[in-house]
Assembly symmetry: C2
Homo-oligomer: 160 residues x 2
DNA sequence: GATCATATTGAGAATAATTCTTATTTAATA
DNA sequence: TATTAAATAAGAATTATTCTCAATATGATC
């Protein structure tokens, strides 16, 4: 949404290179599905990607969207997020970041924090396991919901 | 699992008080379902709670487990966690804490960190929304998985 | 302690997200 | 351009969770 063309292009090239390197076919469907995730900051779910891409490729099937998105995840080009009972959401931002999630409408946005990134993990974790990735999730109310408006999608119950 | 009897008792009393206060019936089923979640650090899912409680109450239905767990959540006595495509997991630890999740077997444990708790949120968040709760999720490998053993449950694909 | 009104339960059917199956099509390569 | 393995579309299948409704149990009252 507020992504620069250069960033989107960079992501598209990264995808094409990865396909060539691994012998994965660059089909029309895959390109458009990846583009859809790569060009937004909204962390869309498969259904949403399907609706958008269907406008351009009317024969698109939802299953292909799912298979492609999981493929992209295997390739390391997207990550997944979301809670149980929700649709899986996809994120093409590969920089280390954190998430803000609105407990009312589900809006999710990335944010960055050097402070969070540089924190040491507590020693108690050593007895539990080896950390690989640390991510902060901030739950709260997005500006629209806080202002009392009722944005498009809503959730059955807030997951705080 | 490594929970003190006093802590478990405290949780049970908290549950009973909440029921009285809100006019919620304290049925045999509810008591045992809550006890099951309250006495473990494992964050079980509904299915697991169902299996354990069924040993004591063989006529228990899975639906009652679900309904009770969501009720407990409404009462503020448990929180939920987990990822999409997974069963919802339940947590009776009401102290502010963070989670370690094993990406291989799904093992989840609470941990505490004053450092994390005292961190300021970045200003960029102000334009996104109002924070209510901040929780850190550390993904990695639990000791067993890191050691190459293959614990009971495993996941289809690691969610990093 | 018995009675009553209502909340709760159990069983099985219903939903929703996601995945599988299979016949058909297509990208990459010879 | 022909070949072939990989990818797609469509619809059936799966899995976690929820709904429906008749039967039962709780808590309040007598």
């Amino acid at each position: 949404m507020e992504l620069s063309k250069t960033e989107i292009d960079k992501r598209m090239r990264s995808f094409e290179n990865m396909c060539r390197k691994l012998g994965v076919k660059r089909t029309h469907q895959r390109m458009e599905i990846f583009r859809e995730v790569a060009q937004t900051v909204e962390h869309p779910d498969a259904e949403k990607v399907y609706r958008k891409v269907s406008e351009r490729i009317p024969t698109m099937s939802l299953d292909t969207v799912y298979r492609t998105l999981w493929l992209l995840k295997d390739l390391g080009l997207v990550t997944t997020l979301g809670s149980p009972r929700e649709r899986t959401r996809f994120d093409a931002n590969l920089d280390h970041h954190h998430h803000f999630v609105c407990v009312k409408c589900g809006m999710t946005r990335d944010f960055y924090s050097d402070d969070f990134d540089s924190l040491e993990l507590p020693d108690t974790l050593l007895s539990i396991g080896e950390a690989v990735k640390t991510q902060v999730e901030v739950k709260g109310l997005c500006r629209k919901c806080a202002a009392g408006e009722m944005p498009g999608e809503k959730k059955k119950e807030a997951t705080l």
